[in-house]
Amino acid sequence: MIERLKSALGALNGPNTYGNSRAFWVLFVVGVVGVFAYPMATGSYRAGQASLYLLYGFLALSLCFIWGYCGVLSFGQVAFFGLAGYTFGVVTLNFGAGATVPAALAGVVIATVVAAVLGYFMFYGGIRDVYVAIVTLAFTLVLYTFMAQTAGSEWAIGDARLGGFNGMPGIPNITVGGTALSGETFYYLVAVLLLVTYLGMRVLVNSRYGRVMVAVREDEDRAEMLGYNTKFVKFAVFTFGGLLAGISGMLYASWGNFIDPSVFALSFAALPIVWVSIGGRESLIGAIGATFFIERLSQELAATGSEWALVVIGALLLGVILLMPKGFVPMIDSYAKVGLRWLKKKRGKSEKEVPAVDGD
């Protein structure tokens, strides 16, 4: 029994994730407890605000997954985010608050399918490297322009007007078992989903599939010459990334009861790249953490009303990307390793083993 549990937990660790040591997991559990205690300490409003940053975490994870683990930079994750949000809106506005769960599923399915179609076109069309970024960005900007001009009453799906630049207001909250989730309840929904997704992705990236993804990232030709269908790998990874971004977008529409074309704008499209670069693109926990931190900071700066807010954010991003090329978590990890090595040396060989922060 204990052995089984151990092997299940063992699947969470591996060379493809940062933080595999006992120390990390202790901190992680403390962090999770903190996240779940947060609304009790701060109340509904803070929880509602924080749930936005948490739900952005899925968007960050989606990019982290396809860029950090498979080496494919998508500039268009917000396209799937936005499509899922719009789908959620269209379905709920047609079928009411009772249909939010099917609507959520529909949103995620649409995002996944569109990602699959775009991914198929790109990867089976032989698009690689930075061209993927350009094509996905163009796709997103096209959606932006298109959605911005769907204001007329002819642009409606059933009872749901797409609304053009004004967007779609009045989207109901996601409702589970007759309870509309908002504030704390919505926060818990997002937190639980995110936790499960994070752990699931850890298992995934440390599995055989994860190893293939990383192989494609490291050297696509080599991976192909080991007999892996790299086009399919990229296609599948991109599709799964679309699914994650879809979850994020569906939650976003429910969070704000509103969605508008700005979700497809360049300024929003760049955000996931910023989050993931800062957190460390090869680190799942870094992506989530950086998203939370940066969005929280932007909000606080905006709340000051200072005209320097955007300049400060820009300077911060530039500084981080200059000084920490691999991102925050990998940097901390390498410092921790150096520190531990130093500790080890200092203690001499009297003690048998010092737990490594990384490595299994």
Binding site: V214, A215, E218, D219, A223, E224, L226, G227, N229, T230
Partner: protein
């Protein structure tokens, strides 16, 4: 995508058997294979075949088309004209990974391994496709042992010496348990001791298994260590085929080599 079909072309395997009367059929064969890049013809109407279980060396001056031929065999390049047969099957239109899955494996000319991963992770990534979950560690250990990499198994591939990277890549190619192993300059940049070790491993595998090897190599001393059947390629064409002695003593071969370098 040159979508050509195996129209009326005779199966060269059968043809080869008729010609030589040898019962050991060709594992790989090409028929009128041609590849042009822009205005340059890299491979020019080549009929090339290797029998199962053979260890063949492929030599030729720079630019002779050796690596291009390899890439045509593995599917990284699609031929402008002609066909590739593997074990009697026309694989001209198969994608690279499909060919690898049928039992071809290759080491690249310039060493290419997964740099940020450990030696063991490199090996696992290679082997996991062909070895079950339960046996993978044992399999990896065995291959690492054979190639003398076991004590470096936790080293990051980027931190290995150049020679060690080459050996790792050969080990990875081998771990797929291929029927046909293509090695593009396996000992380039290696020390003499390392080269000898690789030669020894190759010879042993050749003797102990029925694998087929095709090796591109510049180092004629290394060629001598591993093979006596040599094919010479020059300017995209098959120039000569014979034992190492015949090739070595051929004045034309000497000329293209000396003239070429």
């Amino acid at each position: 995508m040159t979508a050509t079909e195996q129209s009326e072309t005779k199966n060269p395997r059968a043809a080869a058997s008729e010609r030589t009367g040898v019962s050991n059929p060709d594992i790989i064969a090409t028929d009128s294979l041609t590849k042009r890049f822009g205005g340059i013809t890299a491979i020019d109407d080549v009929d090339f075949s290797v029998e199962g279980g053979e260890l063949r060396c492929l030599i030729g001056p720079n630019g002779a088309g050796k690596s291009t031929l390899f890439k045509l065999l593995t599917g990284q390049h699609k031929p402008t004209e002609g066909y590739v047969y593997y074990d009697g099957e026309n694989i001209t239109n198969l994608d690279p990974h499909q060919r690898i899955q049928r039992g071809i494996s290759m080491k690249f000319q310039s060493p290419s391994v997964f740099g940020t991963l450990s030696v063991r992770e490199n090996m696992r990534t290679a082997a996991q496709r062909v070895v079950g979950r339960g046996e993978i560690d044992a399999h990896v250990d065995e291959v690492l042992e054979r190639f003398g990499l076991l004590d470096r198994s936790e080293t990051r591939a980027d931190d290995l010496s150049h020679g060690m990277v080459q050996i790792l890549e050969i080990a990875m190619a081998t771990s797929l348990d291929p029927k046909l192993l293509l090695l593009d300059e396996p000992v380039a940049g290696m020390s003499v001791e390392e080269s000898e070790k690789v030669a020894d491993i190759l010879n042993r595998m050749h003797d102990e298994t029925d694998k087929t090897f095709i090796v591109i190599e510049h180092d004629i001393d290394f060629v001598e260590m591993i093979s006596d059947q040599v094919t010479v390629l020059n300017q995209g064409k098959l120039f000569m085929q014979g034992t190492i002695e015949e090739v070595r003593n051929d004045s034309d071969v000497r000329e293209i080599y000396l003239g070429g370098e």
